[in-house]
Symmetry: C2
Subunit: 266 residues, 2 copies
């Protein structure tokens, strides 16, 4: 699998972090950690640098991008052009989009991901910002227009809307609310210690939990009043644990033997 | 609507309780409260008797059924044969099924509901026990075989599996887990202060929240390992607020203008 993106639902365990190190080149990996989302970016950056080094990365360093000026500076470009893997920590996804959005760093990362020069990974807030439409907040119960707030993400993975800590925080209602409003976007709910690895317009699930895909494209009826409950009939749900593969543009799981079993059999 | 069952997701407000009183005959209603599920059945019974009286019921009384002997006694039959509405309180649904299951009270209630002699209502545990397959417990995150424990309910509404406090407790994962194991059963997740009113094999949604129907009958692939995440692809979800009608044997929402709007227009 030629993964370009590794999108983690938070609380990633060693299995997922090692997988990222390997995708970035293992002993030859040059990993850059961007902790802009974190309230304590220095500590968060240092923590992941230590982890990736301990897990066998060739080199790992933190790239402090606390301001738009830093994200526009040539020094950031130098660091990123030498990277084989870039990792976005958790925190507040709006900090990532407001600090990085539209800067030279944003543009460069899009280019480097598209060309296959590096693997881009993110966890929690670092996962949310990968979406075309990003869930910003909202944890109210029920499926209602005000149960979820959204905004534009950095669009590394177009056509999706990502939610994280998914099973752990019982967020299916807010994902249903979001896709009812924006049925073009596929809703991806990623559990903790779980990730998707993208390869073109497919993704494979890895980790200990599952990815829940909510597709309101099949819905027969959608009504979203300004207040009060949403009506949504005929939406489609897929619960996909590790090894399952999903075709994003086809909006369907890839049938047959999971990739993990194919690999074991090969 | 000729309602036989009124199944409430817990925390029922005055609108729902009045609706039950009206369905049972309003000023002519003779309501019997069964608080077997409650840890404090005397207090729970008295509380609902007061509420139903205050909301205009002709008469309301509690029927104490703490033991199987009481549920088999002729005195219970006398009380129930004179009722126009029976209400089961919340608490522990397994107390209802172990104390009432198979007793003369159980049999009599089935007959009285089937003949239309009374309206049977229940909230929370009193809703869960209406199912063919009843969710007994389990609140773990994720969609896994052990995320949910089930057992037989009293089958007032066959072919369904009911979960309650649905949005408030983020229970879609456990309902998905249950229907993945038992795809014959339609999963009904009822929010607080929300109910379904059944009429034959249809139900209408009433109250302030929504009913989420999860149908694994459409699933293309279901794998339920003994431990670890379930795979479930192609399940169908409907989120139905007040006024929506659902056809149970057809496993589909009834399209068109919601019943509440029809009633207002008429």
């Amino acid at each position: 699998m030629d993964a370009r993106l590794m999108i983690m639902g938070g609380a990633a365990g060693p299995e997922l972090l090692v997988r990222f190190v390997q995708l970035a080149g293992g002993a030859a990996a040059r990993i850059v950690v961007i902790a802009t989302a974190s309230e304590t970016p220095e500590a968060a950056g240092a923590w992941y640098v230590d982890r990736f080094t301990a897990l066998g990365a060739g080199t790992a360093c933190a790239l402090p991008l606390a301001t738009r000026a830093l994200a526009a500076a040539p020094s950031a470009e130098t660091v990123l052009r030498s990277a084989t893997g870039v990792f976005f920590t958790g925190g507040d996804q709006e900090r990532i989009t407001t600090v990085l959005g539209g800067t030279a760093t944003d543009t460069l990362l899009q280019e480097l991901v598209a060309s296959g020069a590096l693997v881009l990974a993110g966890t929690s807030a670092g996962a949310a910002m990968m979406s075309a439409t990003m869930i910003v907040g909202g944890d109210g119960p029920g499926v209602t227009a005000d149960a979820v707030r959204t905004g534009p993400g950095l669009e590394f993975l177009p056509g999706v809307l990502i939610d994280q800590h998914f099973a752990e925080r019982g967020r299916l209602n807010r994902l249903l609310s979001a896709v009812a409003r924006y049925p073009h976007e596929l809703g991806l709910g990623i559990d903790e210690d779980t990730a998707i690895l993208t390869d073109g317009d497919r993704f494979e699930v890895v980790g200990s939990g599952a990815v829940t895909v909510v597709d309101a494209g099949t819905a027969a009826e959608i009504r979203v009043p300004a207040t009060g409950p949403i009506t949504l009939t005929g939406a489609c749900v897929h619960v996909l644990p590790a090894g399952c593969t999903f075709h994003l543009t086809g909006r369907r799981p890839v049938a047959g033997v999971p990739a993990a079993e194919r690999e074991r059999a090969a």
